[in-house]
Amino acid sequence: VSAAYDYHHAADLDDALHLLAKYEGDAFAMAGGTSLVLMMDNGLIRPGHIVGLRGITALRGIEQGTNGRLTLRALATHRDAERSPLVRSHCPALAEAFARVATVRIRNQATVGGNLAHADPAQDPPPMLLALDGEVDIVSLSGRRTVPLDGSFFRGMFETVVADGELLTAIHVPPLPDGARATYVKFLPRTVDDYATVAVAAVLARDDDGRCTHVRIALGAAGPVAFRAHAAERALAGRPVDERAIADAADLAAEASDPIADLRGSVAYKRQMVRVWTARALRSLIPRAAVA
């Protein structure tokens, strides 16, 4: 059972930022609440104040700009994202990554912004958003900054660059390069609502000769944070995407991973699964006949 806290219903974004500033150091922002409730129930955090964001209507919704950029506002739920025609037409694999999270009940309550801010390394959307070159808007009373997910956003397990007094307000996803295809694969040997044993998000485009012109490989549940496997990407860039190149990339992805041993497997097993599922993800992005 959670320790007592004061709940402050923020009327708008400005109100929320003032409340966070007022109670700085003793406040958490709550969107859907699925993660915070569990963390408070377990005594992992004991804030004196919760700033409730759900009344901030300006932070809801999903839209696509004239430049083709997709924007998911922080309070869009996972269910909103998985069912949004805009998300599906932008990138079906992104809709799929949101749909793979837990169960309908969680996806009705949990928000896309909260998912990133929670920074659970085994969550589904982060690797897909990393592979799609996603970036986030972070707002405070002193201004707004836009931070790419790759490299700088996730700082550690349950830790991001979002500082006290700041709020993550939106996720932006640029249009995919011409001809690029994307996939999200989640290795689930136990139950379909489980966390991934390992997960791989990949985006790949090839020229007419079958050479890789664009590649992104991002891993989930393979380290303290979701991350891009840059060395694996470099192994493919400019090369014909054949079995040898795929095997090289898969080896490098496994080498880059730093999973924890838990009930889903040992470190060595999970590394091997990163190798297997990276190769499968990449193969799924090219027509069968084109794999030499």
Partner: protein
């Protein structure tokens, strides 16, 4: 807050969860506490029509909203809903502890998608566990409820 169609007014501590307010303050013990971490589905209820886990839902979120629990499925005169009847006719429960959640979830599914495919039922109902493992009959019950309301 409106609970099963009746307006209710109550003052609660901000850290309390919807499941406890329903069970302890409102006496609606049909909503069961199972895993307490949003996995098992025994505490499935709807808020403004959306299925959620009452064990993960701060009660303050329901301020001004319409909450639906298993107690609200039947008609006020006691006539059971099509989903409830289908579960009885098809043996959709064994020990019964998961049944309130199964009924609420199945009802939410059919209001979103009145004629779901078997795959859609399986996908939507993934989060409602039955430790008796009576899943085939739960599936058949929902299919039968969908068919029944389709004929009506």
């Amino acid at each position: 807050v409106t609970v099963n169609g009746s307006p209710r007014s109550l003052e609660i501590a901000s850290e309390r969860l919807l499941i406890d307010v329903l069970r302890e303050d409102l006496g609606l013990t049909g909503t069961k506490r199972g895993c307490s971490i949003g996995v098992c589905g025994a505490c499935s209820v709807t808020v403004d029509g959306e299925l959620i886990s009452a064990c993960l839902y701060p009660a303050v979120f329901a301020d001004g909203a319409a909450v639906g629990t298993v107690e609200g499925l039947a008609e006020p005169d006691g006539r059971l809903s099509p989903v409830q009847n289908a579960f009885i006719e098809n043996g959709g429960f064994q020990c019964g502890i998961c049944t309130p959640g199964q009924l609420v979830a199945a009802t939410a599914l059919l209001s979103e998608q009145p004629r779901p495919t078997e795959a859609e039922i399986r996908s939507y109902m993934t989060g409602n566990l039955c430790r008796c493992t009576g899943y085939q009959r739960i599936l058949r019950s929902i299919e039968s409820a969908a068919a029944a309301s389709g004929n009506a």
